[in-house]
Symmetry: C2
Subunit: 336 residues, 2 copies
Amino acid sequence: MLSERRRMILAALIEEYIAHATPVGSRTLTERYRLGVSPATVRNDLSALEDAGYITQPHTSAGRIPTDAGYRAFVDALLASELVNEEPPHQDIVNQLRANATELDSLMEQTSAALSRLTDCLSVVVAPTIVTAHLRQLSLISMTNRRALIVIVVEDGQVIDRQISFAEEVSPEELARVQNLLNGIFVGKSPAQIKQHFNVNANEFLADPLAHRILGEVVECLHERSGSKAHRDGVSALLRKPEFSTAASILPIMQVLEDDTILFHVLDDALLSDARFMVRIGQENTAVSLPGFSVVASQYGRGESSGVVAVIGPTRMDYQKVIRAVRAAQQALKDE
Amino acid sequence: MLSERRRMILAALIEEYIAHATPVGSRTLTERYRLGVSPATVRNDLSALEDAGYITQPHTSAGRIPTDAGYRAFVDALLASELVNEEPPHQDIVNQLRANATELDSLMEQTSAALSRLTDCLSVVVAPTIVTAHLRQLSLISMTNRRALIVIVVEDGQVIDRQISFAEEVSPEELARVQNLLNGIFVGKSPAQIKQHFNVNANEFLADPLAHRILGEVVECLHERSGSKAHRDGVSALLRKPEFSTAASILPIMQVLEDDTILFHVLDDALLSDARFMVRIGQENTAVSLPGFSVVASQYGRGESSGVVAVIGPTRMDYQKVIRAVRAAQQALKDE
DNA sequence: TTTTAGCACTCTCTTTGTAAGACTGCTAGA
DNA sequence: TCTAGCAGTCTTACAAAGAGAGTGCTAAAA
């Protein structure tokens, strides 16, 4: 429905606005892009694009800037094109990250740092949820007479630990017994299965208070940690962008970042559908009002569980660069 | 050397400026504080205080605002007075925190959150360094044939874990053997002692490559983690303060927060001397230039090791409230 | 029908000038 | 030593005016 030229003009305008963060006029477009028409013609097209809701004018005598809908059309075109899909993402970076990081935690941290450096935006990497990952091993380590450490190792290599205190003394031998007991029953089971078993066979465990107590903690751990632990990087990059020069403009994103629950909410919202990859532009973020921010998020799989890697920046972000970077990060985080 | 009245005027001016963030004139002071003298007299004193470097004028026809030196004098007086020292810090909060948090990590997180809420500033809690804490127990958990988890428990209850991969298969029995071997030698030793033993007796361990490898990782862990892990909270509180309404004004602190190394550097600098408690006002922060920011930091001991708890905010912070809050946090984090 | 040139129009931004307001510094007197 | 009064200085707010940028529209050209 949009003529070829208008599409080109929209793309050129967005490109120009992304680069300079300043409203773009008809003359600028004809001067910098080989459109082959005069400014007057471009003006007509701009007017049409504005009527269609793709661009808007901050005020009468300014150039145009893209609306969220304009970015959306631009990004959809980008995603449909080969530009973003075909090219192999920065394989060198992927390899380098993989080589350096021996642990998931450190891999996430480094990926987040690389991502924010690469895109000059804020990046977030969320550890895979363990909702689906199966238990590999449970270890109980005695710390003092009345204190022990539970270490849970999950199939995809994630480790969760938690300390517990006992009202009465518990010997290391006792702990070893419970460890073997629980491992015997639950290794290979998913958190949901473990919880179910715990609830159904509650009576059985009541005879063994220590096992009951510890299993309770384990169940709690597995559910509490579901999707916890997020690495963030690149806040200061955002502060340097002209659109975020006032504190008020960055406050919304800071509030999101400060609270894991809200952050997860925003990311989950972005990935609610079965899509593994998602771009949310400005007001498309419905979980929290984030005017002026876009979120590019992707799930990444580690074994049976899945985490999220995302880049958050101004709607005026370099979508092509960001999308490719997120894809690359997803590769880096993917289970070997 | 400062007359009693001038001291009072300085205190009143700072109090007023802390409350309203706007330059304070002579009339305001006489109206709101019972000084018993006329504005003209106050003006003379203000002029003297300015000559002495305690206050300054943004411009000729504005009131005065405190300089870093002015705050310093104010804070020194505060610290010398009973106001801050004698009163028992919010014991209720301390107790509540202690009750909720079973683990150090969660205690630090909750303390940080409470501290920032209480002071309406940014708060940072750094885990105790383990430089001096002795090893309590070492556990090796087999994850796969070629992968194991090292869990290090230190005297003060901190837990460190790290995954390692092996070139060849390693049986759980082998791991158990090494675990016993290393525990036998190193339990009760400090990181420094362990490292030394490792270096001196290198030959002995060469005959046992697995033990050598694992001990190497342990040594590395203990030193890497020294003073790592920091919890931050309350960034958005800073954004709401009028002095940080521009992105440029908060950029410095964001850069510090983003990089643990720099953050530690700032805090270490604040606690470089043997003082366990320190207030750094504005330019007194020498590690990194933090114009307009003050740092109130305290060490807190957990057993033999020590961590840092700090509040960072505008130089125009409520020092009394902040100092007492930091003291309370230090109590909450102190080893039972 | 589409494109172009030209022009009037509108709006922002900057500058300039003015008036009001705030606070000081100074001087002279209590 | 303190106070009252006043002139002086500086910011802030507001209005007016000019420059600049970019548009929309109209009429002619392709």
